[in-house]
Symmetry: C2
Subunit: 261 residues, 2 copies
């Protein structure tokens, strides 16, 4: 199984962390492609692969081609690979929001390998905690991707298009949107010359709490209590920063109405 | 210092965790009041105090009266204590949203002791991580509260009314509102028969990331990228659940515009 050759297309956050983890777990990453030659080289060196910066240089094999590129260039990248004569391998992209079918014109074997986590250059994610969503046009490839996901991640979750989109939307809510709320918290504190660090224990506890309690059971605060006096006090405070006030009002309203249903 | 008698008014989440921590750190909790006798008894037993369920039974001393009661009954509780002849001690409430001045008619010495954390019955908070906001009408009492905060919590943060309100508003954003986003994530997953647990590693990493990166630097996703195709796909998915769609649209809009400023 681990003799399977893997070509990594893309050396961004997802590609980099995936390549490192695959290599760490004994997989054979044969080539790393990035338009940015220096990036390709840096990553290729780490994982013992060959760096390339032209898709025409991608070698043909019957293993896995992992397309860890921006959503809007997935189809184009698959097209170029196909033009370069890559026809036997399995093409899998790593995006939560892009249908598998964008690969279909360019490969007989195609699928998805989407790790549900936020990746950044500065942090090494704990892969042993990460669920990986897999999907494949061919059952045998689904088993192959499942196997890899189970070895490098926490679990493989085989799912359909609709479910993966749902998961990606949910991820936007809990990750991008929560992070924006942290940013809002920071802006409010800065206004009062208070250190954002004061909020870190609360942010951590909020995230940890839902490991043990459902978010519904964990909900506290003026909105769910319908505590109009406190809400009014908060809105009075926020009147100088109308964007934040609007956001506060809207979320308070939905929390309050979700409570009464 | 630790001979200071402390009376705990209220045996809810905040009162309970505070009383336990104070006692653990060697403070002398003399009485625990709750209208719910059983609650008062349970907590009093744990901390070696006397349980009472009538404010008229509160004993007079020159130590600390911690009012860990709901925001809307703080003033009334202080009034009752004053009527019961409690006049020498320091009255401090534990609310982030209520001005210290509501205590002023009822006590010469009054202040605030507000631990910035979310408390729930099921979880013992890590007090050594918690910043505690203090404020007092008398400088000596400010020192007293600061001292207690430094012993039971991570740090004391002396702040003014306006700053504390700001902090409380920020706490609502990062705690109550983020938790509501978790709830939204859960609802979306349930719709697709997916387990909420899939999101937990992402929720944790989102919270941990801002310990090392500013929320602004940590922001990723379609909104900040201005990735209209993905946003459209998400909104198409959300059209069956209009409340969530509205929330998605609004937060996406503010993230996008915060980016371009």
């Amino acid at each position: 199984m681990k003799t399977l050759p893997i070509t990594l297309i893309g050396a961004g956050n997802v590609g980099t962390h995936l390549a490192k983890r695959l290599s760490e777990k004994g997989y054979r990453v044969v080539q790393v492609f990035s338009r940015d030659k220096a990036k390709a080289e840096a990553l290729a060196e780490t994982v013992g692969a060959v760096a390339i910066d032209q898709l025409s240089e991608v070698s043909s094999h019957d293993g896995l081609y992992l397309l860890a590129v921006r959503d809007d260039v997935i189809a184009e990248t698959a097209c170029r690979l196909s033009e370069a004569g890559i026809s036997k391998g399995l093409f899998a992209h790593t995006s939560g929001a892009t249908p598998a079918s964008v690969l279909q014109p360019y490969a007989k074997r195609y699928g998805i390998f989407y790790p549900l986590q936020t990746f950044s250059p500065q942090r090494t994610p704990d892969f042993s905690e990460i669920p990986i969503c897999v999907q494949a046009s061919v059952q045998e490839d689904e088993r192959l991707l499942t196997n890899i996901a189970e070895i490098i991640g926490k679990q493989a979750v085989v799912m359909e298009e609709q479910q993966r989109i749902a998961l990606h939307v949910a991820a936007v809510f809990v990750n991008n949107f929560s992070n924006y709320l942290y940013q809002t918290g920071q802006r409010i504190l800065e206004k009062e010359q208070l250190d954002f660090k004061l909020l870190l224990p609360l942010i951590r506890e909020t995230a940890e709490k839902v490991r043990h309690l459902s978010p519904e059971a964990a909900q506290t605060g003026p909105a769910v209590r319908g505590d109009e006096k406190t809400i009014a006090r908060h809105l009075a405070y926020l009147q100088e920063i109308p964007e934040e006030a609007k956001l506060y009002e809207m979320i308070t309203k939905v929390i309050f109405s979700s409570r009464s249903t």
